[in-house]
C-alpha cells in the first residue's frame, strides 16, 4: 500500500533519461515528476518511446544516461527484481500473467511462500494453502472479484485477468504501479470496471499510477497529469484541469 513515510509529495522523478540502441536514439532526454497519489498518463504516438521509458523505470532496460529518483533518492534497477524490491510494479499488456497457472500462483509468481522451515525453503516447497488464503484476502480488500483463487487464468475473461494483474501489482507495489495499456484488450464494460478500479485505488488507497494508453478518452477520464512524448523527446506535461483533449492530441501529433 502507499507509503506515507516521506513528507514531500514527490514520489518519482525521471531526470534527463536517454537511451540508445546502437545508433538509434530512442529517448533523447526525458524529464518529468510523478507525485504521490496521482494518476499520470504517458501518451505518445507509436515509436514515441513510451515502452522504452517504462522498461527503464521497471528495470528491464538500463538508461544510457540520466537519473531515476524515487522518494528523493537516486535508484538503479539492474533487473525487474530490483524494481520490485523498491516497490515499483509493472503490469505489461500481454505479459502480465501466466495463463497456465491459477490466480494465487500468479499473484505469488517469483515471491512464493514455502513451508517446512529452512529445509522447505531450500527445496522450494510451496505453501499453496497460505498463498491462496492470502490472495483471496488481498483481492477482497481491493474489492476485486474473481471466481476463486484456484481458477486457472486461462479460463478467465479479459477483464478478470486485468483485475487479477492489477491486484497482483497492488499486492506488492508499495510505491508505484505502472500500467501498460490496461484497457487495450477489453470490451466497453470491462474497460469501465478497470478504470473505476484505478480511480478507487487512487482515492481510497492513495496509490500512485503511471499509465500508458492510446485511448484518449480513458486518459482524459482517469489522469491527473498527462506527459506527452514525441519521437523520444518530452513534448509537454499537462494538468488535466488546464488542458483539453484536442490540446493533448495536438502535442502527440506535433501540431503544437
Amino acid at each position: 500500500m502507499a507509503d506515507s513515510g516521506d513528507l514531500t509529495s514527490l514520489l518519482l522523478r525521471v531526470e534527463a533519461i536517454t537511451k540508445n540502441f546502437g545508433a538509434v536514439q530512442a529517448l533523447k532526454g526525458i524529464t518529468f515528476d510523478v507525485e504521490r497519489g496521482e494518476v499520470v498518463a504517458l501518451v505518445g504516438d507509436n515509436g514515441a518511446g513510451k515502452s522504452t521509458l517504462v522498461k527503464i523505470i521497471s528495470g528491464v532496460y538500463q538508461p544510457t544516461s540520466g537519473k531515476i529518483i524515487l522518494n528523493g533518492r537516486e535508484v538503479h534497477f539492474p533487473n525487474p527484481a530490483a524494481a520490485h524490491a523498491a516497490g515499483v510494479e509493472t503490469v505489461y499488456q500481454h505479459l502480465a500473467l501466466i495463463e497456465e497457472l491459477d490466480v494465487a500462483d500468479n499473484v505469488y509468481l517469483g515471491r512464493e511462500t514455502t513451508k517446512y522451515g529452512v529445509i522447505g525453503r531450500m527445496m522450494g516447497v510451496l505453501d499453496r494453502r497460505q498463498m491462496r488464503r492470502a490472495t483471496a484476502a488481498a483481492l477482497e480488500s481491493l474489492h476485486i472479484k474473481i471466481p476463486a483463487p484456484t481458477m486457472p487464468v486461462r479460463m478467465m475473461s479479459g477483464g478478470q485477468r486485468q483485475a487479477v494483474a492489477i491486484g497482483r501489482a497492488m499486492t506488492w507495489g508499495r510505491q508505484l504501479l505502472i500500467l501498460d495499456e490496461p484497457t487495450a484488450a477489453l470490451g466497453v464494460e470491462e474497460t469501465e470496471q478497470v478504470l473505476a478500479m484505478i480511480e478507487r485505488l487512487r482515492d481510497e488507497a492513495g496509490m500512485t499510477f503511471l499509465v500508458i494508453s492510446h485511448n484518449m478518452q480513458d486518459v482524459y477520464r482517469i489522469a491527473d497529469k498527462i506527459v506527452v512524448l514525441r519521437q523520444g523527446r518530452h513534448a509537454a506535461t499537462l494538468r488535466k484541469q488546464e488542458t483539453t483533449m484536442e490540446e493533448i492530441v495536438a502535442y502527440i501529433t506535433g501540431a503544437k
Binding site: 509493472t90 505489461y92 500473467l97 497456465e100 497457472l101 509468481l109 514455502t114 486461462r154 478467465m156
Partner: protein, 333 residues
C-alpha cells in the same frame, strides 16, 4: 473463437487429462481377450510377459519424466537417445578398465547424462539456440562420441556385479517378484511428480513454458531454471543408461536409437503440451505403459518390428492433434 461454457470446458479438460488411462485400460482388456483368440493361448496376461512390458516401460518412463519437465518448459530434448548410448558406453569402459566398481559405474552414467544436459542447457541459454536445433546437433555429437570412445564396438566385460545390482528382481510383500528397474522408475515418478506439482522448480518450469518473458519480468532467473531443467533431463537419462546397460549386459554405442521418440510420445500422450506450460508426470507414466503395450501387442501378434516405430510416430501425431483440439475448446479470448 467461441468459448464453451465452463462446465463443458472442465469436461473437455477431464477427458484430455484421463483419456490416456482409458486407452491403457482398453488396451489391456483387448490384448487379454485377443491374445488367446489369435495365438490360441494366453500370451499376454502372464506374469512373465507383464514383467517384460513393465521393464520396457521403466527405462522409457525414467527418460520421459525428464522429458516432461523439458517439454513443459516449452523446450525439447532430442539428444536423450544418444545420451543413453554415450552414458552406457562410458560407464562400461570405466568399469572394465578402472576399479570404480558397479556403484561408481552407475554414477559415471549419471554424470555423463548430467554433463550432456548441462551442455544442452548452455547452448540454449547462453547461445540462445532453439532447443530443437541445439539438441538435434548434440544428438549427433553425443552419438558420435559414443562411437568414437568405443571404436564402434559393444563394450563387454565390466563385471557381473553391476548386473546383479541393477538388473535383478526384488521380492515385495503382496506383489511378489518385481524388477528393481521398475522400482527405480516408480520412485523417480513419485519424486518428480512431487517436484513438478509442489515446488518452486516445478512451478517455474510451468511458468517458463507458459510465457518465458512474463516469468522473466516477474524477476525469476529464467536461464538458471532452464539450465536446471536440461540437467535434470540429462541426469535421469543417465540413470536410464545405467539400467539399460545392466539389462542388456553390454554397452553398445548404437543403443538408445529412437528413445527420444518414445520419451516424447509418452509425455505428449500423457497430456504434456508440446507448446509448453502444461505437464503431467502421472500421464507420462501411463503414456510409457501404453507405448510398451503397443510394442508388446505388435510383438504378440507377430507384426514385423518395423511397424513399431511407425505406430509410435503416428501416435505422437495423434496426441498432438488432440492437444490442439483441446486448446481450441477451452481457451478463451
Amino acid at each position: 473463437m467461441s468459448a464453451l461454457p465452463l462446465t463443458r470446458q472442465r469436461a473437455v479438460e477431464t477427458v484430455a487429462r484421463y483419456g490416456i488411462v482409458l486407452v491403457l485400460v482398453i488396451m489391456v482388456a483387448a490384448l487379454t481377450v485377443l491374445s488367446p483368440i489369435i495365438r490360441g493361448e494366453q500370451f499376454f496376461l502372464t506374469s512373465r510377459n507383464l514383467i517384460q512390458v513393465a521393464l520396457q516401460a521403466a527405462i522409457n518412463a525414467i527418460i520421459a519424466t525428464g522429458m516432461t519437465f523439458v517439454i513443459t518448459s516449452g523446450g525439447i530434448d532430442l539428444s536423450v537417445g544418444a545420451n543413453v548410448a554415450l552414458g552406457g558406453v562410458t560407464a562400461a569402459l570405466f568399469m572394465r578398465d578402472t576399479g570404480i566398481g558397479p556403484i561408481g559405474g552407475f554414477f559415471v552414467a549419471m554424470a555423463v547424462g548430467g554433463l550432456c544436459g548441462a551442455f544442452n542447457g548452455l547452448l540454449i541459454t547462453r547461445l540462445d539456440l532453439p532447443p530443437f536445433i541445439a539438441t538435434l546437433g548434440t544428438m549427433g555429437m553425443f552419438r558420435g562420441m559414443a562411437l568414437i570412445i568405443s571404436d564402434g564396438r559393444p563394450v563387454y566385460g565390466f563385471g557381473r556385479e553391476f548386473l546383479q545390482i541393477f538388473a535383478r528382481q526384488i521380492d515385495l510383500p503382496l506383489i511378489g517378484a518385481v524388477p528393481t528397474q521398475v522400482v527405480f522408475a516408480l520412485v523417480i515418478a513419485v519424486v518428480f511428480w512431487w517436484v513438478l506439482n509442489r515446488t518452486k522448480f516445478g512451478k517455474y518450469t510451468i511458468a517458463i513454458g507458459g510465457s518465458e518473458e512474463t516469468t522473466r519480468l516477474a524477476g525469476i532467473p529464467v536461464n538458471r531454471y532452464k539450465m536446471g531443467i536440461y540437467i535434470l533431463c540429462g541426469l535421469l537419462t543417465g540413470v536410464a543408461a545405467a539400467l539399460l546397460l545392466a539389462r542388456l549386459s553390454s554397452g553398445d554405442p548404437t543403443f538408445g536409437t529412437f528413445y527420444e521418440l518414445d520419451a516424447i510420445a509418452a509425455a505428449v500422450m500423457g497430456g504434456t503440451s508440446l507448446s509448453g506450460g502444461e505437464g503431467s508426470i502421472g500421464g507420462t507414466i501411463v503414456g510409457a505403459l501404453v507405448i510398451s503395450l503397443v510394442r508388446n501387442g505388435l510383438n504378440l501378434f507377430n507384426v514385423p518390428s518395423y511397424w513399431q516405430d511407425f505406430v509410435i510416430g503416428a501416435v505422437i501425431v495423434l496426441a498432438v492433434m488432440l492437444d490442439r483440439w483441446r486448446k481450441r475448446q477451452t481457451r478463451r479470448v
